[in-house]
Symmetry: C2
């Protein structure tokens, strides 16, 4: 148990330097450890997302199903450890999406009730909640601007720079969908870029 909470505890203490061991104890009471096998669905459309999760290890993706096609909305892993359909979590409305473990994944999560209780009983919980909301906002906003301002090719290159590890762990057709194009289109982007690279090399 201590082991499974080590990472999230380190995270909390880094974000909130003034947190005491006693306050941490209140958080700890509300945390559940869950494990998922590769392919497990963590959330389905129509469900209210009741948890905010912290990834100890593993990899999950968010996706929508539209006309039988999967639209990937995000990937979360040890580097990007907090995930939730936070809109559904906050508004208590059914989520439109799937969350799927695409590797064996272990998370530490807190449910809605637990979070509200912490807000009302533990000082500094509001600050933690604020940090999490701010972090999720910043991530979403950056993705939003990328879709507005960048071409699919630029989005691909940015992703290569910013999250190179993903390409080792995620099939290309999911990356394509995350970038907002079909697998065929991503394949052509890659062909174009490697031609350009070899062209400028000599």
């Amino acid at each position: 148990m201590a082991d499974q909470l080590a990472k999230i505890k380190a995270y909390y203490f880094a974000l909130l330097p003034s947190i005491t061991e006693e306050q941490w104890w209140f958080y700890e009471q509300k945390i559940s450890i869950r494990t998922y096998k590769k392919g497990d669905l963590i959330l389905r459309p129509g469900q209210i997302c009741d948890t905010v999760s912290f990834i100890n290890s593993g990899l999950v993706r968010f996706y929508h199903l539209l006309d039988g096609k999967e639209l990937v909305a995000g990937f979360f892993d040890e580097e990007q450890p907090y995930f939730s359909d936070y809109e559904s979590f906050l508004t208590r409305k059914p989520s439109p999406m799937y969350i799927e473990a695409i590797e064996a994944t272990e998370v530490a999560d807190i449910n809605y009730e637990g979070v509200q209780l912490l807000y009302d009983t533990v000082e500094a919980a509001d600050r933690l909640g604020r940090y999490i909301a701010e972090g999720l906002y910043t991530m979403l906003s950056a993705r939003n601007n990328a879709f507005l301002l960048d071409s699919p090719e630029q989005r691909y290159q940015k992703l290569l720079e910013q999250r190179p590890g993903l390409f080792q762990r995620v099939p290309q057709y999911m990356i394509a969908s995350y970038l907002g194009v079909t697998p065929e289109a991503l394949s052509r982007i890659r062909a174009r870029l490697s031609k350009k690279a070899s062209g400028s090399a000599h």
Copy 2:
């Protein structure tokens, strides 16, 4: 002065029922009232967005300039009173966008320094910051999902339902851009829909 702060004060007290007059006084110290004329730029690309603003009256839009074309990212008014390039505000990085008053607008705003001071001195400030971050997140997430899942036509119809007032205050070419299409395309959407409506009427 009392008059110019009445709305934001009511807003704070509604969000934070337990706030005291004394605590409010600390907030009040940090608030500035600003007025903009129609057409004034509130933020330009390259600037760090240093404020979170609350609209007393008026209407502003967010937009990007890309290849000489304006891409509208959002509208804010009395019904949607909090605005900021919150990503730039939080990360302290230059904003890529313009914020423009498209009507004469009066705002009450707080700058970054003031907000941080409040977080460190006033209890309940973190909670207010959390609410604001959560609200901005929810708005952005909804818009994001609309772009992923809805056609331009559906986005138009949703906007008609959800913010009918905008159509009286904003020229159609800005609405088109906000919906992610050209003015020509929006005109055709409207033509299609009014034909459909009259067709199903008899």
